[in-house]
Symmetry: C2
Subunit: 188 residues, 2 copies
């Protein structure tokens, strides 16, 4: 399959929060056409360490006017708002939009699972397992739902215009980081 370079993608990331104080965290969605043109922003709030990220992201996507043209969601990590773990297959089922999770560094899954078990969040370990092992894709790793690895890799390559990170995710990250009412640290 050959994809056009102007495919519409929604990059998603959360904003920093104070884990001792904040109950909610802002999640940003940045609509892109390909890897250059941002043409919309959406946002929602999810609970810190809660269980509503899948439902809230699905509502954000389903109520957006660009939904019909969306080729995929690109999410900066499967954990939003601390350990509000996203069920990526559930998100695909609720939205019918394929999901690509972008992982900057290969996660230490055994350690994350130990932490979740210790916090009494064992249910979330199943979500991590269901998401599948992160696959290497250029300089990053990806997990995916509703899409093949080859298609996901092609979308990553099309949209990674300014760095090794896909632009929709890089920009969603910058926006989220800038909302700490300070300056985004901009890892990319």
């Amino acid at each position: 399959m050959i994809m056009k370079r102007e495919i519409r993608v929604l990059g998603i990331d959360d904003s920093p929060f104070d884990k001792f104080k904040d109950r909610y965290v802002i999640v940003i969605g940045a609509f892109f056409r390909g890897g250059n043109h941002m043409d919309g922003v959406v946002s929602t709030k999810i609970s810190v360490d809660g269980n509503n990220s899948t439902k809230k992201l699905a509502a954000m996507v389903n109520s957006s006017r660009f939904k019909a043209q969306l080729k995929c969601l690109m999410i900066d990590g499967i954990n939003m708002g601390g350990f509000n773990v996203i069920d990526i297959h559930g998100l695909y089922r609720l939205t019918k939009v394929p999901v690509i999770v972008v992982v900057r560094r290969k996660p230490d899954l055994p350690n994350i699972k130990r932490i979740l078990a210790r916090l009494g969040m064992s249910r979330k370990i199943a979500l991590l397992d269901r998401a599948g092992a992160p696959f290497r894709c250029g300089k990053i790793y990806i997990q995916f739902a509703g899409i093949s690895f080859d298609e996901a890799k092609e979308i990553v390559e099309i949209t990674a215009t300014h760095s090794y990170l896909p632009e929709p995710v890089r920009v969603a990250h910058l926006i989220g980081a800038g909302l700490a009412f300070g300056e985004s640290k901009g890892n990319a």
Copy 2:
């Protein structure tokens, strides 16, 4: 003077607010290199119909790590947060960074002044007058401080890559609009 196309510009716009309820409004700053690459986001809060926009914007700019490279600030209109009118010459004085105000439609200044006078905000009429009349610049109008019209026009032309609006302002607008925890309406 010939400017390079990768000049660093900070696009600034506020987010929607409820004038009957909200006391503060979020202001977004989007750092761009030229008209394509966003590499940082900052934000601050100003009071609705207040007098602190100039001071707050100056603090946001002066505390940013990109400040030394900033060629100019591009602001989406001289009124932020309702009638928190920006003193663009004061902003230039406080930051030493030239200011370009982007005006999408020629404002009905006599009417705005009547409203301000009626609201007992006559002091702000002086700020509007000091900003100077909006000059036509392509499809938009601009006001400026600390920079000549010709230089300001060149920066507008360099950065208006995706529409007649300079990209830093277009994107700051989309981000602000997306923070209403709904979807940005994206006028551009």
